[in-house]
Amino acid sequence: MAANWGKLYIQGRCKAFGVSWSEEDLNALNNLKIPVEYVRRGILTLKEYEQAKDSIELLKDKEVLMKEAKEVGLEATPDASAETLTKEIKKAKK
């Protein structure tokens, strides 16, 4: 059984490709309303979230990233994740 992990990842509905959210992750997401990017980095409590809030760079919207990728000459397809795009754009800008 293979879920559409690429789509689920982009939609913030799994932890990583092929890795489901755990009960603790789901609690942080659904009850504590901690954003996906933070939960993916293991931030599961409000206290940890408050501390990490300013130190983690939130990902830009995928459309924005695709535009930026084009500007820096990156041959990216819409299948690329926001994390990958961010990383590659940074590399290309250097």
Partner: protein, 321 residues
Amino acid sequence: MITQSDFPKLTDYVDDIFNEVAKTSVADMKGNKIFRVRDTSLRSFEHLILHGMSGIQEVTPGQDFPNVTSEEGDSITWTQRQYGAKVSVTEEMRMFDRYSQLESIVRSISTDAFDKIDQSLADVLLYGTATTYTDVYGKSVAAVGPDGLALFSASHSNNLNTDVFSNIITSNPALSRAAIVTARKLGLTHKDPNGMIRPVHLDSIIVSPENEDLIERILYSEKMSGTGNNDLNPMKGKIKNVYVWERMQTRSDGTDTSAYWFMFDSSKIGETLNCLFAKRPVLQAPEKVYKNGNWDYALNYYNTIGIGYAPYIFGSTGAGA
């Protein structure tokens, strides 16, 4: 002594044993009565689920009907896997006419195939809160639905909004009349992501032999069972199908799962539980046989099990937590 000229007759004999086992095994299986069992010619079968689209709108004269797309849905791919075993008719068996030995081997291997299929279906429910498990064939399998979560989850998601739903019967209660009432209410009040009530009529129940007596008392007593209350039993006649599934007693890793119980909507369960065969179990005779070699009959099948849209089945481990 069985010689090469007896091969067609021997093949008929082996086929008869296999067919007899297949007939009785299929009749005894419960999984094939619960899961939607279908044949497919596709190696990878893509299943689309829709969470409950809000497609219908009022249409004014001359206005085009609104489009309905699959954008709201999730998809999952179920890929066929091959299973098989060889039944060897050895030279010694032929030389000494060991029909009874041959019959035992064919009977045993054929029974094993059907038992394994039924257990693999039961394991989908019994490992229902896990996202992966070791199946009855000893292989690690993914056990997620289209939302990337286990079959039974308190947080089934959708791609329309952040709403979630649970198909775990609240607090995993042990089987009881009150717990069935709770489950039925959960099903009847199920909402889709658009906030529309999409009732799930939990009209079927699966229990282990451990709970056979209890479920029959709960469902079939004239009065309410297990209470001094003399009211008529309102549960009587509400549950259409009761499956006392032997394989609910233990799952394939030997864990006692006798307290587990499940309720499902018989008209929609095919959206949730699927079993697809690209090839049903068959016993194939060897194309060529040699006087001194083994005559290898091959039993094989192609099969996959798929989890779809989850709300049509609710489950409890009976652990009370």
